[in-house]
Subunit: 213 residues, 2 copies
């Protein structure tokens, strides 16, 4: 079953909202309620849930707990898997701090940096290694996903090495497009591009716009 990129993104948003509602004691939800919160149409919500194969009932809507379970099962069929972060600079440290404070099912299990100053230290509870240990740690922890927060001119080189070490997914914060083999998925978070885009659309009469990232 193939789930399109856009749908995956929205389903992740639904899940986040559903968890909050579940914690607040809500048992059922209608497509238009979820839609309202996430800024999409009810039809889209129904189509998305159909895509992941979850079925509600016309009179009662969707069961919050059941839907969360279905999403978990669809998106995270395996055990919690660790991710790593390469480039413990300002941005990298902010990320480590942020993820340290979260009970995530995708914990950051290790960080890496060329700077020998940083090797061996704990940064917000996350062990920072020298680059020489990269292959070993990745293999030990069987990590498949990495954050890339190194300077732009080191990014390709580091990405190559990560891919060789078995990484299959990258969240790239460096302002360059990476060349990777087709089986590696890259998500680009390009802050400068986002800013320029917003500056452009802020000028014209933008549609409310949703789109995540």
């Amino acid at each position: 079953m193939k789930i399109p990129d856009r749908t995956v993104e929205r389903v992740i948003l639904y899940r986040r909202r559903l968890r909050t509602l579940h914690a607040a004691g809500q048992v059922r939800i209608y497509s238009h309620e979820l839609a309202g919160v996430e800024g999409v149409t009810p039809a889209q919500v129904r189509r998305d849930l159909m895509t992941i194969g979850y079925t509600g009932s016309p009179a009662k809507g969707y069961e919050v707990a059941g839907l969360i379970a279905k999403i978990d099962e669809t998106l995270n069929p395996h055990q919690d898997e660790g991710v790593v972060l390469v480039g413990v600079g300002r941005l990298g440290k902010a990320f480590l701090a942020y993820f340290a404070g979260q009970a995530n099912h995708l914990p950051v299990v290790a960080a890496f940096d060329v700077d020998p100053e940083k090797a061996g230290r704990l940064v917000h509870g996350c062990r920072c290694h020298g680059l020489d240990e990269l292959e070993t740690v990745l293999a030990e922890r069987s990590v498949r996903v990495a954050f890339l927060t190194v300077p732009g001119d080191a990014a390709q080189e580091v990405a190559d090495r990560l891919v060789r070490a078995g990484i299959r997914g990258l969240v790239n914060l460096a302002p360059i497009r990476l060349r990777v083999p087709p089986e590696v998925y890259v998500e680009y978070l390009d802050i400068t591009v986002s800013l320029e885009k917003v500056a452009f659309f802020a000028r014209r009469d933008a549609r409310a716009a949703a789109r995540s990232s």
Copy 2:
């Protein structure tokens, strides 16, 4: 002339690459060269340039300098405009540091935080104000775009206030969807969602994937 979201994004990437090439002395470029670097097809590049109304010549390709000028003119028809940042936390500080080191045509002209500790201080060369000065500063500098790096539970409230103060575009880093009037454009940079998406696609056989953000 309406330029689609996706095209704007790619054009911004082309411009970044073109600036590097121009600095390196390259005078002309073919669609397939630009495409190769940015991970899109040559046909797409040509279509994008057609959309912004730039014309090359079959034998010589596109003129690097002319194309940059055309993109600038299309995307940034006005003078350099300042942007502001609200929420001088870990992420906000990283951004301020980053943009301070760049000669950007979208300079961060002011920052804001509720924390009285931060008010009045200079953070990486950027003046940090208390929230009470928000309306005044925005009006003075006629700022239309803002970064939102406050905690999730403050984001909606701050966004409302920014919109009331005249903001027309937001780059939102907080993990919630904002309710804003339709004339306000919001770009979501949701790091957790990106991570989860990558974790999902890293598992299946991902297509090389481009997509920015």
